[in-house]
C-alpha cells in the first residue's frame, strides 16, 4: 500500500513538474518532450490502478502517434519569423487566475465528495474491456471509426496543398 502511494507520489510529482514545463517552456521542442513525460506518467498511473489495456494504448497512441504528429507539426510550422516570436502572451495573470480559480473550485468539490474513498486497483483484463466495448458500446465504437476516417480524410484535404492551383 505504501509502495503504491510512494509510486504515485513520485509519478505525480514528475507529471506536474513536466506539465508545468510543457506550458512554460520557451522552446517548442522542449515542450513536446516534456509532454512525452507527462503522457508516460499518465500511462504509468493507468497501469498502477490496473487499467492495463488503456495504459498500453496510451503509450501507443500518444507517445507513438500523437507526439510524432506534434513533432511534424513543429517542424512544418517553424519559420524564421517564428523563431524570434514570443511563444507566450505578455500578460499571463488572467490565465494564472483562471487556472487557480478553476483549481480551487475543482479541489473544493472533489475533497468535499470523495474525502477518503479508496480505489480498487484490481486489474481489469483486456478481455473484460473488449467484451464491454463490443457489446454495450458497439455503436459508439463504430461511430468512432467513422470519425477517424472522416478526420483522416478531412485532415488530408485541409493540409494538402491546393491541387492544380
Amino acid at each position: 500500500m505504501i509502495a503504491e502511494h510512494v509510486a504515485f507520489g513520485i509519478i505525480a510529482a514528475v507529471m506536474v513538474a513536466s506539465a508545468l514545463r510543457v506550458v512554460t517552456a520557451r522552446d517548442i521542442v522542449h515542450a513536446a518532450l516534456y509532454l512525452v513525460i507527462v503522457l508516460a506518467g499518465v500511462a504509468a498511473l493507468f497501469l498502477l490502478v490496473g487499467a492495463e489495456f488503456t495504459g498500453i494504448t496510451q503509450v501507443l497512441i500518444y507517445i507513438g502517434a500523437v507526439i510524432v504528429l506534434f513533432l511534424f507539426g513543429i517542424m512544418l510550422t517553424r519559420s524564421d519569423f517564428d523563431q524570434d516570436g514570443e511563444t507566450d502572451h505578455k500578460r499571463k495573470l488572467p490565465a494564472i487566475l483562471t487556472a487557480l480559480l478553476l483549481l480551487a473550485v475543482m479541489i473544493g468539490a472533489l475533497v468535499d465528495r470523495f474525502g477518503d474513498d479508496r480505489l480498487d486497483p484490481t486489474p481489469q483484463t483486456t478481455a473484460q474491456v473488449s467484451d464491454e466495448l463490443f457489446s454495450q458500446y458497439i455503436v459508439p465504437f463504430e461511430a468512432v471509426s467513422v470519425l477517424l476516417l472522416a478526420a483522416l480524410i478531412g485532415a488530408i484535404v485541409i493540409a494538402r496543398r491546393e491541387q492544380g492551383g
Binding site: V23, L69, T87, L119
Partner: protein, 99 residues
C-alpha cells in the same frame, strides 16, 4: 490508494492545461496544452473506473484517447493551413474577424 489522489492530480493537470491554452500564443503549444487537459480527464475516468471497479472507465478513456488523437490530427492540419497562408501560427495575430 485514495481516489482523491488521482482526482486531484487530474484537477491539477487540467488546470495546468487551461493555463497553457490561455497563456500560449503558439498554435502547436496550445494543442499540446489541450492534450494535458484531455489526459486529466482520462486520469479521472480511469480512477473512477477503478473506484467503481468497472471497465466502463477504461472504455470511456479509450474513446477519449481515440478522439483526442483525431482532434490533434485535424488540429495540426488546421494549424498547418494557417501557417501556409500566413507564415505564422501566432494565435494572437489571428483576428481578422471580430466585433
Amino acid at each position: 490508494m485514495l481516489l482523491n489522489e488521482m482526482l486531484l492530480l487530474g484537477a491539477v493537470l487540467f488546470c495546468i492545461g487551461v493555463y497553457g491554452v490561455l497563456a500560449r500564443r503558439n498554435g502547436v503549444l496550445v494543442l499540446m496544452s489541450i492534450e494535458l487537459i484531455l489526459n486529466a480527464v482520462n486520469i479521472n475516468l480511469i480512477a473512477f473506473g477503478a473506484f467503481h471497479h468497472t471497465v466502463i472507465g477504461q472504455i470511456f478513456a479509450l474513446f477519449v484517447i481515440t478522439v483526442a488523437a483525431a482532434e490533434v490530427g485535424i488540429g495540426l492540419a488546421i494549424v498547418l493551413l494557417l501557417y501556409r497562408n500566413r507564415r505564422s501560427i501566432d494565435l494572437e495575430q489571428v483576428d481578422l474577424m471580430k466585433g
